[in-house]
Amino acid sequence: MKTIAACSLLLTLPPIAPAADSQWILQQSTLTYHVSHPLHQSEGVSHASRGKGVCHAGQCDFLIAVPVKSFDSGDSNRDLHMIQVTRGAEFPIVTVRTRLPESVAASATINADLEIQFAGQTAQYKQVPFKLETQGGETHITGTIPATLSDFKIDPPSLLTMPVKNEIPVRVDVTWRPQ
């Protein structure tokens, strides 16, 4: 009887392997890149990001992944050129990783160190400021990543022999909810 009780207790215990204390799921996202050309400005928007945050021992690791092809600038020709120049068929996913203390969820602003893999390259951005707004259990985060083409060794595409600017700031507007 004692053996059966002990076995039952063991089965109800959590696994010994380290388990996440809590998790976050990306509820909604809008990522927008901005490209400047002497003749006009253009933006590409994606709502197709997927993301997850795993917290353990007071630290949360976040991962956001977005398909390169999901960015829509409203012009199919421009989008195809974007995919070509960023080697989007060869490296189809952009990933953004960051690690934040669990306590920042209560802050109004955060500075995050981001590691971005894009176009076959990895770039790091230090202390990128984001605004946080928590409402109804969901956390809304907005900010701009100061990305450049040269960070990812992308040759600036040109239109009418004029190249676009090196700066391609990416606006981030994401909503996370705890799982």
Binding site: Q41, V54, P92, E115
Partner: protein, 309 residues
């Protein structure tokens, strides 16, 4: 005299263009066995030392066909089974900076030899390599609890690259870039042709003015033909719906395309009538209006992809 110059120019222009294209696209490598081709070489480091276990990847630019080889203990490699064509070459080895050669043409009758030197250092291109993390105060964690792409529900098919598709996109962009440049170049004689039309069709116009107008028109037509060729022959990307200003750009081609054929035909008729001392009559009278509509559609097509409406 102008007619003679025009005819000579018109006759030799295609040869000049073909020669220029040939020179520009001249192969950088030549190698071939009877049916497939071999690329060999030896990889060394900057000091001339042997670079073993370096992966050499040859990806055919137009269809993504890929062949790989690894350097042996003496640094030599041999990539076999290459069909004639242009290849993108990548040399990757632990402890070396990745070296990429964007385009190398494989053809000819002998095995091609390509020796390269690799610089010591971390990879600078190719597969993503995580940068050092310990210099950041809150850098991404390498712990086992950190989420992965599979945690996000992304399948390996979604995350894996497609070299064939990339090669198709590369070819498309390359051809459309030439299309764009040729279109810009074509604009110059097009404007000049329209400008010289003022002195070509009136009552008191000279033969020289008409000849000049005709020569410029001929040049415009030839350059337009090359421009159109690169747009028409650029590969289509399956599953892509045409959206945005490019739709207008393509629609304009249905006006300036036929116009570029019709305008010179009507122009020749008008030219002959004027040369015979006749007043331009019949359908030839449409030469001017058709040319204006054609030039207008061409300009609108150019603007549609240049300026945001």
């Amino acid at each position: 005299m102008w007619r003679t110059i025009f005819r000579k120019l018109h006759n030799c222009l295609p040869s000049v263009v073909v020669t220029c294209l040939f020179v520009a696209l001249a192969p950088s490598l030549m190698a071939q066995t009877a049916e497939t081709h071999v690329l060999t070489g030896r990889i060394t480091d900057a000091s001339g030392g042997v670079a073993a276990n370096v992966t050499v990847t040859a990806t055919r630019v137009d269809n993504g066909e890929m062949r790989t080889a690894t350097t042996g203990t003496d640094g030599s490699y041999k990539v076999e089974g290459l069909t004639p064509g242009k290849y993108r070459l990548k040399f990757e080895g632990a402890g070396f900076k990745t070296l990429e050669i964007p385009s190398a043409t494989v053809n000819g009758t002998e095995a091609s030899v390509l020796d390269e030197k690799l610089e010591v250092g971390e990879q600078v291109s190719g597969k993503p390599s995580p940068a050092p993390r310990d210099n950041l105060p809150n850098a991404p964690s390498s712990s086992t609890t950190a989420p992965s792409l599979s945690d996000l529900g992304l399948s390996p098919e979604q995350t894996q690259g497609n070299a064939r598709e990339q090669a198709l996109l590369d070819k498309r962009t390359h051809m459309l870039r030439i299309h764009q440049r040729m279109g810009l170049i074509t604009t110059i004689p097009l404007i000049a042709t329209v400008a010289t039309s003022l002195n070509a069709g009136g009552k008191n116009t000279s033969t020289a003015s008409r000849d000049l107008h005709a020569a410029l028109g001929g040049l415009t037509g030839d350059l337009y033909g090359i421009t159109a060729y690169y747009a028409i022959r650029a590969p289509r990307v399956p599953g892509t719906e045409t959206r945005g200003p490019i739709r207008f750009h393509k629609a304009m081609a249905w006006i300036h395309g036929p116009g570029m054929i019709l305008t010179p035909i009507l122009g020749i008729m008008a030219f002959d009538q004027k040369s015979n001392g006749e007043k331009v009559h019949g359908i030839a009278q449409a030469h001017g209006p058709v040319a204006i509509v054609t030039a207008g559609a061409f300009g609108a097509a150019l603007l549609s992809v240049s300026v945001k409406f």
